[in-house]
């Protein structure tokens, strides 16, 4: 004789087995959308980043020209809305009015500022763990890497979940660029944070990801 509970559980198991494919389909379909959304976000943030760099460069160039009185001869009428040059201005003087590219003297300041910010990040990374450090290059990886890493380190004490998320994002970024050694380091940090948070499933998922990353290095 079967109890009502057994019969109900059996019926539920049957429904579950009939739904397994639907669960898997739904999960995969939504993950594809998630990836698509993430790629769009990355593309947009890269675009905005480039636009900001461009605007900053342009503004610094303009400021440099307008604030360099030694390179300009102002008309006697200072209230005039434009700058005028004496008729005897030489070609070299004209050229000094054109905003110069990165190599020009007036852009040294902006380069210095960029390097100073980057140095701070690098110092923080060195203090934390030198293995996390990356070489600078122009493929966009190192800037993005340092940006996320700086955020992860800064939020480590105040918001562990956010920091964990940043380390996971960092690991994924490294994997996308094929930097598996750095990905492993980032997964290690994530796993360590997950343990501190004390969430078993997060610990398991980060540990699994770490093992997978370590296997990739071995291969």
């Amino acid at each position: 004789m079967k109890s009502l509970d057994d019969a109900l559980h059996e019926a539920a198991r049957d429904w579950t087995s009939q739904s397994t494919t639907t669960f898997a389909d739904s999960s995969e379909r939504l993950i594809r959308r998630l990836r698509l959304q993430r790629n769009i976000d990355l593309g947009l943030s890269s675009f905005v980043g480039l636009a900001l760099v461009g605007i900053t460069w342009w503004c610094l160039g303009s400021t440099s020209v307008s604030s360099s009185p030694t390179n300009l001869t102002w008309s006697k009428n200072r209230s005039a809305p434009y700058q005028s040059l004496p008729s005897a201005t030489k070609t070299e003087d004209m050229q000094s009015l054109v905003p110069k590219p990165r190599s020009a003297e007036h852009n040294d300041q902006s380069q210095h500022l960029t390097r100073a910010a980057s140095d701070t990040v690098v110092k923080a990374i060195d203090e934390r763990d030198a293995s996390l450090r990356v070489e600078h290059n122009n493929d966009g990886f190192s800037d993005e890497y340092e940006r996320i890493l700086a955020r992860a380190i800064s939020s480590e004490q105040t918001n562990r979940v956010q920091s964990l998320h940043d380390y996971i994002g960092l690991a994924k970024l490294c994997e996308r660029y094929g930097r598996y050694a750095h990905a492993t380091n980032a997964w290690q940090q994530a796993a360590s944070l997950a343990k501190q948070i004390g969430d078993e499933r997060l610990v398991k998922s980060t540990d699994d990801a770490l093992k997978a990353a370590q296997k990739r290095i071995v291969r």
Partner: protein, 189 residues
């Protein structure tokens, strides 16, 4: 009596769900898969309580998951499962009002009874049809409890009713099922 899990969902459980959700929202696939696994059975059970047929429930389930995904930026804090079930309830009500338009002239109970007549030889199908023929308030709690594998407290939260009312509904639902399934299961009522 139903062997109820006494534990209510703790704050740690809520926090874990929220953490998974926020990680998933920011693109963490592993967290997304885990969250999907946690939500799948309760939501499918909930959909089935509306559609009373598994194939339609599968379509509705996909719709509910899509709605949750699309509204993910709207959740900031609070009770995550209550938020999810609110979305599910709205989607199910919409489905219900649409499908009612198509079967308004027929008696749905009659249709289901006729559809299931051929399955009665199969014991599991017979039990399933008995569950699906229960009145809505009983059907929902039984499905969430057994198919959704939810605790009484979780059902109360999802249905926005008291724990005592869930217990009463479960008791009455089981009484009806005992009457209906007694002969099949080999005991008299």
């Amino acid at each position: 009596m139903v062997s109820e899990r006494q534990s209510t969902r703790t704050e740690a459980d809520h926090q874990r769900l929220r953490s998974l959700f926020f990680l998933a929202r920011d693109g963490n696939e592993q967290a997304f898969r885990e969250l999907h696994d946690v939500l799948s059975r309760p939501l499918m059970a909930y959909c089935l309580s509306f559609t009373r047929d598994l194939e339609s429930a599968k379509d509705l389930f996909q719709q509910v998951m899509t709605n949750v995904f699309e509204k993910r930026d709207q959740f900031h804090d609070g009770n995550f499962s209550a938020w999810v079930f609110t979305i599910a309830r709205n989607a199910c009500r919409t489905w219900e009002s649409r499908s009612r338009r198509f079967v308004a002239i027929d008696d749905l109970d009659q249709i289901i009874a006729e559809d299931n007549r051929g399955l009665d030889t199969d014991e599991i199908a017979y039990v399933q049809s008995a569950i699906l023929e229960l009145p809505e308030e009983f059907r929902t709690v039984i499905l969430l409890r057994y198919f959704g594998d939810m605790s009484v407290a979780d059902i109360a939260e999802a249905e926005d009713i008291s724990v005592s009312l869930v217990k009463i509904r479960l008791f009455r639902a089981r009484q009806r099922l005992t009457t209906r399934l007694g002969p099949l299961l080999g005991y008299s009522v």
